[in-house]
Symmetry: C2
Subunit: 305 residues, 2 copies
């Protein structure tokens, strides 16, 4: 093409609202070498460490990362998925598996390699890198009950649209019932993953006629709020009441007493998710699921009764 | 155009590596209604709350947010700026002001509205929303010295490429010298913003012949590491040694004893930054700088000597 013709084409293209792809390599390979990740929240550190490791591995492999936060709103997540695809993302990292089937259909139709993290769904049509939230929480609940606790109260995240929260609660219920107790005797408060919500839920739970001997929290953020509020109200943790969390984020080690929690291998999950996604993008493998091992981190906030 | 011609044009356009812009509004207005933000790290919660507020305000105004993390590497940040611009960002949020002049020239040449946050530079050619890190830290240091402390040790973030860290250290030095002390008598350790680094620096500082009576940390993450390590080593905070932080992130309230720190108005900063950036994009205003007020949050980790 002559420069003049090219200019005319560019003008026409521009007026149609088309924008050039990022670089020559992207144009040649039809790859942008950009990955999108959508996490439910940036407000606390739940996803921070895993995402950082995800990005480090991506950079090592020559991919950039763009992150969006959906504020735990499925509609916003669906919109952000389309936005990232429209901006040329080669692949996506999403958290958990529970979402409208139309979203998965859209991703399949557009052929966007996608890895689901923070959850594990073997035998699924989706690639995932994570762990079994239900089995992990059941392991912790078994330990709590084995240590003599019979008055358990649960502070759960909001279950609606959050498969991780729902699985964790189910894990406690599995253990509770397996030990011969009734679900009616297991008080549960659902509340957003914020320290203030954990604190408020604790205040409510300890006003019950039969006081809990342990508060099992859906994550460490809720548990940190419980521990601080317990201190403010004059409770000694763990002498008066035990507390457990989930995730083993930084906060868990630095509250006092340190928090007994489910240790999630955040960095490993981030790294493996990056490798899996790149493998999918570069067509080296079929969809696979990686189920990572969790462990129970016993610290001072949980005491034998 | 007939469907057939349109299909041919689309095919040609596609083969040239062009991708359609996101939506009709973007096509009409030549705006993508997407904002890019580049933060130095996602690993800890330093930027989390401000960024969340930034996104909430953007969503309210009809803009999406894409976030990158530069791992405190100026070269990576420069690359991510180009990446976000290439992906059609209408404007950018960057942290701090210290960066290669070529980056600012690039942004000016491309006409990309940009707001610098977490710092305040009045009389600058750049729009900024933040606070005076130096004056804020000086205020805290004045308070520490007024409370009788004469053996101060500092755990600072890495100064290179981080204007906020450099300003905070300068604030302590300003106060120290204004009180008639010599900089030689002010031990300083530079270390990355991680709890483990804070813990290691603490261990080193308390081995000195003249033990510090207070450790002033460049941020709350370092201070949380110090408080936990002090407990492990048998120090009582604040009876044996006081500790201060900076930022007032969630962690500051939930360590024990709770951390005396500089309260940064994270949510306000995020909201004002979003409003300022949208004003710039929509050509409603000239570049302005918003300097927000900080305050000293006195908690139990700092004691009168």
């Amino acid at each position: 093409m002559s420069p003049k013709t090219l200019a005319k084409v560019m003008e026409a293209v521009e007026s149609l609202g088309y924008t050039p792809n990022f670089n020559a390599r992207a144009m040649a390979a039809k790859q942008s070498h950009t990955i999108g990740a959508i996490i439910p929240t940036m407000e606390n550190a739940i996803f921070a460490r895993g995402l950082q490791a995800f990005q480090e591995k991506l950079l090592e492999k020559g991919y950039n990362l763009l992150v969006s936060s959906s504020a735990y709103q499925p509609k916003l997540e669906a919109q952000q998925i389309r936005e990232l695809v429209a901006r040329g993302a080669d692949g996506l990292l999403l958290i958990g598996y529970e979402r409208d089937e139309a979203v998965y259909e859209y991703l399949a139709r557009r052929g966007i390699p996608t890895v689901l993290a923070w959850a594990s769904i073997p035998d699924s049509e989706h690639a995932s890198v994570g762990f079994d939230n239900r089995a992990a929480m059941r392991l912790l609940a078994d330990k709590v009950i084995d240590m003599g606790h019979r008055q358990i109260a649960v502070i759960s995240g909001i279950l609606d649209g959050n498969d991780r929260a729902a699985e964790r609660l189910a894990g406690i219920q599995d253990s509770w019932q397996a030990h011969g107790f009734h679900l009616n005797d297991l008080p549960i408060i659902q509340t957003p993953y914020e320290t203030e919500s954990g604190a408020a839920a604790f205040e409510q739970l300890v006003q019950a006629d039969v006081k809990p001997t342990v508060i099992m929290c859906g994550n460490d953020v809720l548990a940190a709020g419980v521990i601080s509020k317990a201190r403010d109200l004059g409770f000694n943790v763990p002498d008066d009441i035990s507390v457990t969390g989930f995730d083993d984020i930084e906060l868990a080690k630095h509250v006092f007493p340190a928090l007994t929690t489910v240790h999630v291998p955040h960095r490993q999950m981030g790294r493996v998710a990056a490798e899996s996604l790149i493998d999918l993008i570069e067509n080296r493998v079929e969809k696979v699921s990686h189920q990572l091992d969790i462990s129970i981190e016993m610290r001072a906030s949980l005491q034998r009764l």
